[in-house]
């Protein structure tokens, strides 16, 4: 017969301080666990959303990032004329030859020696349609032939002189900020956009870095890739945009995940030790009680189960505390350099329901592990001796 759950609940509440401390300890571990994975999650999500399945990104052969690529005008024209490029409503090809450079800017509130390399992207007219989820939230698009730029929403939050109407200085010139845009939380929101023809003479001269195209048929990516890479006039690599940007999150994303795993597992071991100690002490001080339970005819297995449940219960309370502690970080914007592209990227901590569930499971596992040996001891308690 099972020992009623209310027994465990009352026992746990009998020692509010020690139960509370154990739960809080486990809660902190769960909070760090969720917080760190939310960071890794947010970073990966930002880059994963950057690319679209319907698009292809074309770089110079061998280049592993937009920054290290170079594409001349002739190449860009040949690509735009390809039948694999979708046509816009006006009948023009949806291809955006882009200039991609990094400029040093100082984040808001930091001294001038602190530098972040912000992406400046000179885009073609088609980019606003081709690139994923671009939406203006304020102002009008930069007009052709004018020194005007549009800044990403996250970039605007983190750097000064980025409000609409303000003037941002880079590349030795002043640029008027005419709009701000969002891009579904992707890495584009950390960038400054302007017209490609405006940026060319200022930065690297007559060369683009990449061409982004909307595929006429998204399912026919492989054919488009073969056709363009096989073209004798071109020396390019064709990447599916979604996987290209996702790959750029690989290195840092993995570092963050490994860090989260290592830190939380070490912490978890400490917390399990704590739970073991608490439960041992609890079992020891309740020896007469347990003996009574056994005398009453409860099977040792029920006692074992009961103590496991109690331990898991305390841990689950800890898990809930951890979730409550971690939830406020959701949505907080932070930024770092993505070393794969050498550029500053801002992203938000991203807590998903799955992550919360993982936190709870993690707590329950810690509780069960920590409760096992003490529960085992309780179940095998010699009745006569304990009653005395």
């Amino acid at each position: 017969m099972r020992i009623p759950l209310i027994y465990n609940l009352r026992s746990a509440l009998q020692r509010p301080v020690s139960t509370g401390l154990t739960a809080l300890g486990i809660g902190l571990v769960v909070a760090v666990f969720i917080g760190m994975l939310a960071l890794a999650n947010g970073f990966r999500a930002a880059l994963a959303r950057t690319g679209s399945d319907r698009n292809a990104l074309i770089l110079r052969r061998g280049a592993d990032a937009e920054l290290s690529s170079g594409i001349d005008r002739a190449t860009a024209s040949i690509i735009a004329a390809s039948p694999h490029v979708a046509a816009g409503p006006d009948g023009r090809p949806l291809a955006s030859p882009e200039v991609y450079v990094l400029i040093p800017l100082t984040r808001r509130g930091e001294d001038t020696t602190a530098v972040a390399n912000v992406v400046v992207r000179g885009v073609g007219e088609a980019a606003w349609t081709v690139r994923n989820n671009i939406q203006l939230v304020e102002g009008e698009r930069p007009r052709s032939g004018r020194p005007e730029v549009c800044v990403g929403k996250k970039m605007a939050q983190r750097f000064p002189h980025t409000g609409v109407g303000e003037s941002l200085r880079f590349g030795g010139r002043d640029w008027t900020v005419v709009c701000q845009f969002t891009a579904g939380g992707s890495a584009f929101e950390s960038e400054v956009w302007g017209e490609n023809e405006q940026f060319m003479p200022v930065f690297r001269g007559e060369v683009f870095q990449a061409v982004s195209i909307r595929l006429a048929d998204p399912a026919a990516f492989e054919e488009a890739k073969r056709a363009l890479e096989g073209d004798q006039r071109l020396t390019v690599d064709v990447h599916r945009e979604s996987s290209f940007y996702a790959e750029q999150s690989e290195v840092l994303g993995r570092i963050l995940e490994i860090l989260a795993t290592v830190i939380t597992s070490i912490m978890a071991v400490g917390a399990v030790f704590g739970a073991v100690n608490t439960m041992y002490a609890s079992v020891a001080s309740r020896a007469p009680e347990i003996a009574v339970l056994l005398t009453l005819g409860f099977h040792p297995r029920s006692v074992l189960l009961s103590f496991l449940v109690e331990s898991a219960l305390i841990a689950l309370i800890g898990g809930v505390i951890g979730i409550l502690l971690a939830l406020p970080v959701n949505g907080i914007v932070t930024g770092t350099t993505n070393w794969a592209s050498f550029s500053e990227i801002a992203f938000s901590f991203r807590i998903t329901p799955g992550l919360l569930l993982a936190g709870l499971v993690f707590a329950a596992v810690m509780g069960t592990l920590g409760g096992f040996f003490p529960a085992w001891r309780a179940a095998r308690m010699p009745v006569v001796q304990a009653l005395r």
Binding site: V17, S18, L21, T22, L24, G25, L28, V29, A31, V32, L39, R60, R61, G62, A63, D64, A65, L67, S68, V101, L102, I103, P104, E110, T113, A114, V115, A116, N117, F170, G171, G172, F203, R204, V251, I255, I263, M267, V269, G270, A271, F273, G274, A275, V276, N277, T278, Y280, A281, S282, A284, S285, P288, T334, G335, T336, T337, W339, F342, E344
Partner: protein, 380 residues
């Protein structure tokens, strides 16, 4: 000291509990030391740099080169003693599982500029003689098993094609903040293969008087202000510091996690120690009855807490120090010179002391204040 035996006997009674408590203290401090070392290593990297070295980069951004023709103009600036230049290469080796930095450098002037990059004289001369020669850091020997005289092919990502270098030297950095996993090859070879574009990624200048760094930097920047490639000149330290700031608020994050870890373990440990003290109420009463003073009982409980905290600290902090030293850890090249500093060790010891007070004080005071009669009556 005569009570040490009693304290040890007490600790030995619940061996498992004592072990688990000590181990969790050790783990907490190990983690604390590791996270804090990430912060101190980044700080050390930001502070590295000779006061007598300046770095000139393109004012438009680090990714834009400067003309090689600036060399002579820079040499002519009053106060500048020597000039060297380098380029980031950014190639891939093999399957690119292990990234490492490659630089094209002007051999003689660069090694003269950085005496911290030390290698045997004959290897140095070999590097100076041969166009396609390269020198590598000691760590690359461990990672890839490269030998002197071996040809190594690297695929350029910025500068396309296969680049083959012959390893003619293996250097050891004398300053921990310098990466020991770089590959340096000759800038003239780089120029030749690219069809002589005449570019340098950045210039490094040695100045005669460290006090004059600011005016010299200003003189240089003023000179190139209206050219096609204006410069941004600052001390080497500022240059390195700007790289460290690119991490954003990573140090803040590490610090927060470190504190959460310490706090979590503190709770758990304090709890375990208080529980073990509570169990011994009867014993404390007996000890008092046979004449132990309140002060001694206070001391006994504190000593017990101290033994656990200090053993944990010794194992955790010492373990971190020895482990990172023995494995020569550098986080895949991201954190060169990763070593637990003395400051971190003493901070960790402070945390252990705090832990001892937090976990020992309440039970110790309870023990000292325990009314004997009442405690003995409570005995079932």
């Amino acid at each position: 000291m005569k009570f040490l035996h009693l304290v040890l006997a007490n600790l030995g009674r619940h061996k498992r509990r004592t072990f688990l408590t000590t181990a969790s203290v050790a783990l907490a401090l190990f983690l604390f030391a590791s996270l804090r070392t990430v912060v101190t290593t980044l700080q050390a990297a930001a502070q590295f740099g000779s006061a007598r070295r300046l770095v000139s980069t393109n004012a438009t951004g680090i990714v834009f080169p400067l003309p090689l023709s600036y060399t002579n103009k820079l040499r002519a600036v009053p106060g500048v003693g020597a000039v060297s230049w380098a380029n980031w290469f950014g190639g891939k080796y093999g399957d690119n599982k292990r990234f490492f930095a490659q630089f094209a450098v002007d051999p003689e002037s660069y090694l003269d500029m950085y005496p911290e990059i030390s290698l045997p004289e004959d290897q140095k001369q070999a590097f100076f003689r041969e166009r396609s020669a390269a020198i590598i850091g000691r760590r690359l020997v461990d990672i890839f098993g490269w030998r002197l005289g071996q040809d190594v092919t690297i695929q350029g990502t910025i500068f396309p094609g296969d680049w083959t270098f012959t390893i003619r030297g293996i250097y050891t950095p004398t300053d921990a903040a310098i990466n020991d996993d770089m590959l340096l090859f000759r800038h003239d070879y780089f120029e030749e293969r690219l069809g002589r574009p005449g570019v340098a990624g950045w210039y490094v200048l040695r100045i005669d008087d460290a006090e004059q760094a600011a005016p010299i930097a200003k003189a240089i920047d003023d000179q190139f202000r209206n050219s096609n490639a204006p410069t941004k000149t600052g001390t080497e330290q500022a240059f390195n510091a700007s790289f460290a700031t690119m991490w954003g608020n990573v140090s803040l994050l590490m610090g927060t996690i470190g504190m959460a870890v310490v706090f979590a373990i503190l709770l758990v440990t304090a709890n375990a120690m208080m529980m073990s003290a509570r169990e011994r109420t009867r014993e404390v009463a007996v000890l008092k009855t046979i004449g132990y003073s309140d002060r001694i009982l206070f001391g006994l409980v504190m000593l017990e807490a101290a033994l656990i905290a200090l053993t944990g600290a010794l194992v955790g902090l010492g373990g971190a120090k020895l482990l990172y030293r023995a494995t020569n850890f550098n986080a895949g090249g991201f954190l060169p010179g990763f070593d637990v500093t003395l400051g971190t060790l003493s901070l960790g010891a402070g945390v252990a002391l705090l832990l001892m007070l937090a976990s020992g004080l309440v039970p110790a005071m309870q023990a000292a204040r325990l009314p004997v009669v009442q405690a003995l009556r409570r005995v079932e």
